[in-house]
């Protein structure tokens, strides 16, 4: 698999859209990392006012990548676990509140998971391949695999691939009751300080323009592997095979761990981190993003920034390695079951 990233954009709880600043850490507010919303220039007000947050940030991040293209992209491929859940719940509540009577269309239109990809398609008059992957914690990874297969089959084509999810009151409360968020007040880097179950809620969106051409690419997504397992030893063994297959005897320069402060996931992250030698820098990123199903999209975006700039924000460093930044391995675990390895490499020497 070879997928070259040419452009990217990211709307997140950090300064990632417009004037980027990854060195300054924006804290969580009320135990949640919510996105910094841009002004969404380019989205007409009449359309913007109907958009739910997931659709708004997905479209807002995608449009800058698509606006000045001479030709439309050949596919819009989005990964989202929940789509516009907030609007979905509003719509369902209306059914109860108004006793299955007259319902308004806007919440319904915005509530489907494919509303993000379809809105991007509508706003750019793009009638090409348009699909949404919804495999919970592996939705973005499946979107990447889809794009990689298409790029392999159609060398001349380019694709928009992205991952989007929002915090909705509904999924936040369900996950809180289910123990996925900490009871302690978390502001940022202290996320890793508590040996307790749960993490902190997050939301965000990252979009990438990809194809199979290395010319002027920012980075190359060399491999993606997805695993379902509840056994840390099995996941670590899978990482061994992954590294051997894709790097041989080499190690990645940077290991980006999806460690999220949840004591139940420590065994997975520790097992994978233990596979890295002293030359690999170990980084963490969930204190910037919070935890949510498609957070690996932002991890890929951060990895692209690190590869492109050869600079690692200090607050991300868990363990310093050899100082190289030419390859990044991302490992993420979602709810003790869904795991992914994403390997990125620099295109330029």
């Amino acid at each position: 698999m070879l997928l070259y990233v040419h452009q990217s954009s990211c709307i997140s709880p950090q300064q990632t859209f417009g004037a980027k600043d990854l060195d300054s850490l924006q804290p969580a507010v009320n135990n949640a990392f919510r996105i910094i919303e841009p002004s969404y220039e380019g989205i007409p007000t009449g359309i913007l006012r109907r958009m739910g947050k997931a659709v708004r940030m997905g479209t807002g991040a995608a449009l800058p990548l698509l606006r000045n293209r001479a030709t439309p992209v050949d596919g819009i491929i989005i990964g989202t676990a929940n789509g516009g859940m907030e609007d979905c719940i509003k719509f369902l509540n209306q059914i109860i509140e108004y006793q299955e009577g007259m319902l308004t269309p806007t919440n319904f239109v915005q509530s489907t998971t494919n509303a993000i990809a379809s809105q991007i398609g509508l706003m750019t008059s793009n009638r090409n391949y348009n699909i949404t992957h919804v495999q919970r914690g592996l939705a973005f990874e499946n979107a990447l695999l889809d794009a990689a297969m298409l790029a392999a089959d159609h060398k001349a084509q380019s694709f928009l691939v992205g991952g989007v999810d929002e915090i909705s009151a509904y999924n936040y409360n369900i996950d809180l009751l289910d123990g996925w968020f900490k009871q302690e007040t978390i502001t940022g880097n202290d996320l890793y300080s508590y040996d307790t179950p749960g993490s902190i809620a997050g939301e965000g969106c990252a979009m990438f323009l990809v194809n199979s051409h290395p010319d002027e690419a920012v980075a190359c997504i060399k491999a993606v592997e997805i695993i379902h397992s509840s056994d840390p030893a099995w996941v670590a063994a899978a990482l061994d095979r992954f590294l051997l297959h894709h790097l041989g005897t080499q190690q990645p320069a940077v290991f980006m761990s999806g460690e999220d402060g949840d004591s139940r996931l420590h065994a997975f992250y520790q097992a994978c981190e233990s596979k890295m030698n002293a030359q690999a820098s170990v980084l963490r990123f969930k204190h910037m993003t919070g935890e949510y199903a498609t957070v690996s999209a932002i991890a890929v975006w951060i990895a692209c920034q690190i590869i492109d700039s050869a600079h690692i924000p200090t607050h991300m460093v868990k363990r310093s390695g050899g100082g190289r930044t030419n390859s990044v391995l991302i490992y993420n675990c979602h709810k003790e079951q869904q795991h992914s390895f994403i390997l990125l490499e620099a295109v330029r020497p």
Partner: protein, 90 residues
């Protein structure tokens, strides 16, 4: 209904329109009573007309079944307020 009641109804209606339609950067007091809601005025569109029909049903118990009637009612704040006063059931 006296003039005070009519004015109160119009203010309430403007607030409801701003809230129901999630109008960005529009305050209730920005909407003039005789300003066209669709096209050149407030710039509402066909989806908004559905939202307004649902608003009238939920808030005032008015069911507009005939599209021709809807076109005459959903012109501006004055026409909607007038229709509400004559047909409201709650």
């Amino acid at each position: 209904m006296n003039n005070t009641d009519t004015e109160q109804l119009k203010q309430q209606l403007k607030q409801q329109i701003v809230t129901f339609l999630n109008l960005i950067n529009v305050k209730p007091e920005d909407i003039k009573d005789d300003e066209p809601l669709f096209g050149s005025g407030l710039g509402l569109d066909s989806i908004d007309s559905l939202e307004l029909i649902v608003l009238l049903s939920r808030e005032y118990g008015i069911n507009i079944q005939d599209p021709k009637e809807g076109r005459k009612v959903l012109v501006d704040i004055n026409t909607i307020a007038d229709y509400i006063q004559k047909h409201r059931t709650k």
